[in-house]
């Protein structure tokens, strides 16, 4: 009797594990992660200028770094303006990046849609849509500038 009970427990545990892994797989499949888009998202969300620049084609990484610096320094300016307007309302700017499924264009290149949600002190202020055009340089994918 005890052996049978032990066996049932074991089977249940195995089934639970298998089901959890199955759910994980389904969840992963339903929300595929694009590595390039993932890096861009991380860079924007963490305001990591260097990471953002590294996502762009090598020829344009310098320009991208300048652009990124400008973009993220605007946050500081925004904060400064907010501070000047009303010192009690210093806002913290955060960005969240949502990515779409990449698709192939007529010319064979790929594009990845992304949405950037900008929040001031946790309150969503804007939702911008853009499309990242992907190019391959030496077998590695970058965003074309």
């Amino acid at each position: 009797m005890k052996g049978l009970f032990k066996q049932k427990l074991f089977i249940c545990a195995i089934v639970a594990f298998v089901l959890s892994m199955a759910c994980l797989v389904i969840s992963s499949v339903s929300a595929p992660r694009d590595s390039l888009a993932g890096r861009v998202s991380t860079a924007i969300e963490n305001k990591d200028v260097r990471l953002l620049a590294s996502c762009f084609a090598p020829d344009h990484q310098q320009d991208a770094e300048t652009l990124g610096s400008s973009l993220f320094s605007d946050d500081a300016l925004e904060l400064l303006n907010a501070y000047r307007d009303d010192q009690s309302k210093v806002k913290k700017i955060t960005r969240e990046v949502l990515t779409g499924e990449r698709y192939q264009n007529d010319d064979g290149t790929y594009s990845i849609p992304i949405s950037i949600i900008t929040s001031y002190d946790g309150k969503i202020e804007s939702m911008e849509q853009t499309v990242l055009d992907v190019i391959k340089v030496n077998g590695k994918e970058y965003i074309s500038y």
């Binding site: 639970a16 594990f17 959890s20 759910c23 969840s27 929300a31 849609p113 949405s115 969503i124 939702m127």
Partner: protein
């Protein structure tokens, strides 16, 4: 002294001859234009050289000259040569079979574009003969002058004074008329007409009412009233009517034809005005949208049978539309009447052209568009399995198009969908599906309540967007993005849909409503560009409206990632079960351990019972 006078007279005579030779013409060109009843004819240009003129101007023999003429004469021209009493006669002849043939030959010979009017109306209103040219015989014989210089028969300094214009006359029907070197003979007689009005009422894009009114003054009616009435009765088309009214001494003859198409209009105009009149479809410039139908026709009106060359008679052309779905376009030739009395105030546009006579055609263009306004558009967007979406756009029209127009609407929408694979059908039951890499776009009509066009787009977001670009223009945009880790229990989705159908549908802002629905399911809206008071969220459907066919929707939603939740639940269950199994195993292990070592324990207090003892030394319990 006498000798001196003789010498002086001789010198003066020689000088006079030299002066005459230097300043006058060697010969003149006499022209006769002979016109036959059928307007064929010939133009004779005669030159006469005396022997002395020939010797004064020409180098070489008369045979050399004839050889040069034979070599250089244009193919459409002939020449005759004769000689009598030391005088050389040349006649250059240009024969023609019709005025058009005549003008073509003149243009070919001169290498320029000339104008020629040649007519001989013989009717009640106009009769006689009219010819007008903008060229002279010297223009037609320029090749002769050039050949003489080229071949060295005449020096280039003398050629200018060799030919001069002589007499010019025109012969027609046994009469001869003298004219200038550029022929102009006007022997036309008119029976006066006050004015002629052509009215068009555009009832539909292929149905027109036409009215042509002739206003005949009393003088003409008094002179030939019966003949005029008989003439009018003889030209009325079989499908039209003729009314006669008299007012203030003027008699109005009114031809009316209703419900005519362009072909019938052509027949109407040919019957009333003559064979030179035409009415034809104007160039099709394409419809601005699937719900609009461009149409137009051109009237080329010739009054040659009535007022040839008489500029005192005005031709007035009027148009109006009698269907508020139809509008006249700017392609129409608009000539507003200045001080002219408008006899037809209910006509929206007064087109006025004065007839400038001759055989020129007065061209009148009527261009118009019939538009079917949409009064409702319902857009429904929902996600499907496999990352696909379905967007249905139902466009309801205010008025029911005709069956032909319904077919054309579907054809035009289907033509916008760029694809290679097509399956043709045009009814609700047999919809037209076009499957491509752009997803599937289906267009069908729904006639249950009024007329609706239902466009169904299915595919991935970028495929629906491509389909929208084809249908509605490049301004359309659509995007769907997600933020969700595989193990994250919450999932954020952002939907952006910019639907711009301004070039696709016609609408009246006061009578149009667009309803946009997105089926979000159990998701919660955490942000939208549409203010809260302008959208509703019922049973998981986000709904907003617009008063024009353009809408931009941004919706950020949050939902539970069911599979991630299940994954965590099953993982937790697994861990709990594993823990239970571990605990059980430990306990079992502890129970089995004494038996294996030979030790026993009191079942009541757990104190070890030494071997050979039957009672617990602590509690006295009996141990078996």
């Amino acid at each position: 002294m006498k000798k001196l006078k003789k010498y002086l007279l001789l010198i003066l005579t020689v000088l006079a001859v030299m002066f005459a030779a230097a300043c006058g013409s060697g010969t003149t060109i006499n022209t006769e234009l002979k016109i036959n009843e059928d307007l064929s004819g010939e133009r004779d240009m005669q030159m006469v050289f005396s022997n002395s003129t020939f010797e004064s101007y020409f180098t070489g023999t008369i045979e050399d000259l004839n050889a040069t003429i034979s070599e250089k004469i244009p193919a459409s021209m002939t020449f005759d040569y004769s000689e009598a009493d030391g005088t050389y006669y040349y006649v250059f002849r240009l024969a023609f079979s019709s005025p058009e043939d005549y003008l073509q030959k003149v243009n070919d010979i001169t290498g320029a574009e000339h104008t020629l009017t040649l007519s001989s109306p013989d009717g009640l209103w106009v009769n006689g003969f009219y010819v007008d040219e903008d060229f002279a015989s010297t223009d037609l014989l320029q090749w002769f002058s050039d050949a003489l210089v080229e071949k060295g028969h005449v020096s280039s300094s003398n050629i200018g004074s060799l030919f001069g214009d002589g007499d010019t006359k025109v012969s027609y029907s046994g009469n001869s008329f003298s004219t200038g070197k550029r022929i102009n003979v006007d022997k036309i007689e008119y029976l006066s007409i006050g004015h002629i009005d052509v009215l068009t009422e555009i009832c539909d894009i292929d149905s027109f009412n036409r009215e042509v009114n002739f206003y005949i003054p009393a003088a003409s009616m008094n002179a030939k009233g019966d003949e005029i009435s008989n003439y009018m009765s003889s030209v009325v088309p079989s499908f039209a009517t003729l009314d006669k009214e008299e007012e203030d001494g003027t008699t109005k003859f009114s031809f009316k034809g209703n419900g005519l198409d362009v072909k019938k209009l052509d027949e109407f105009m040919k019957a009333v005005f003559g064979d030179g009149n035409t009415c034809y479809d104007s160039d099709y410039k394409g419809d601005p949208s699937p719900f609009a139908f461009s149409q137009g026709f051109v009237d080329e009106i010739s009054l040659a049978n009535y007022v040839m060359g008489n500029t005192s008679t005005a031709l007035n052309i009027y148009s109006k539309v009698s269907d508020d779905r139809i509008v006249l376009t700017s392609d129409n030739y608009l000539y507003y009447v200045g001080n002219y009395a408008n006899l037809y105030p209910d006509y929206q546009i007064n087109v006025y052209q004065e007839y400038y006579g001759n055989s020129d055609l007065v061209k009148s263009v009527n261009s118009f568009i019939k538009c079917y306004n949409a009064n409702s558009t319902e857009v429904t967007l929902k996600s499907k399995a496999g990352g696909k979406w379905n967007r249905t756009i139902e466009i309801g029209l205010k008025d029911m198009p005709t069956e032909t127009e319904q077919t054309r609407i579907l054809e035009k929408i289907n033509a916008l969908i760029k694809t290679e694979d097509t399956a043709v059908s045009d009814t609700e039951e047999k919809a037209k599906d076009k499957k491509t890499s752009k997803g599937t776009t289906t267009v069908k009509a729904d006639t249950k309540e009024g007329y609706k066009v239902v466009i169904e787009q299915e595919g991935k977001v970028n495929e629906i967007l491509e389909s929208s670009h084809d249908l509605f223009g490049r301004a359309n945009d659509m995007q769907y993005t997600v933020k969700s880790g595989a193990a994250s229990v919450t999932k954020k989705t952002a939907l952006y849909d910019y639907l711009n159908m301004r070039d696709f549908v016609h609408y009246d802002m006061n009578d149009f409503k667009l309803t946009y629905n997105v089926k979000l399911g159990s998701s919660k809206v955490i942000y939208s560009n549409i203010p809260k008071e302008r959208y509703t969220l019922e049973k998981g459907t986000f709904t907003c409206t617009a008063v024009d066919p353009i809408i931009e929707v941004e919706v950020l939603t949050s939902s539970t990632n069911l599979f991630a939740v299940l994954m965590w639940v099953f993982l937790a269950a697994f861990l709990i079960l594993v823990c239970i199994m571990i605990v059980k195993a430990v306990l079992a292990h502890q129970k089995e351990k004494p038996a294996k070592a030979g030790n026993r324990f009191c079942t009541k207090c757990g104190t070890m019972i030494p071997a050979g003892t039957q009672f617990c030394s602590k509690c006295g319990n009996k141990v078996e």
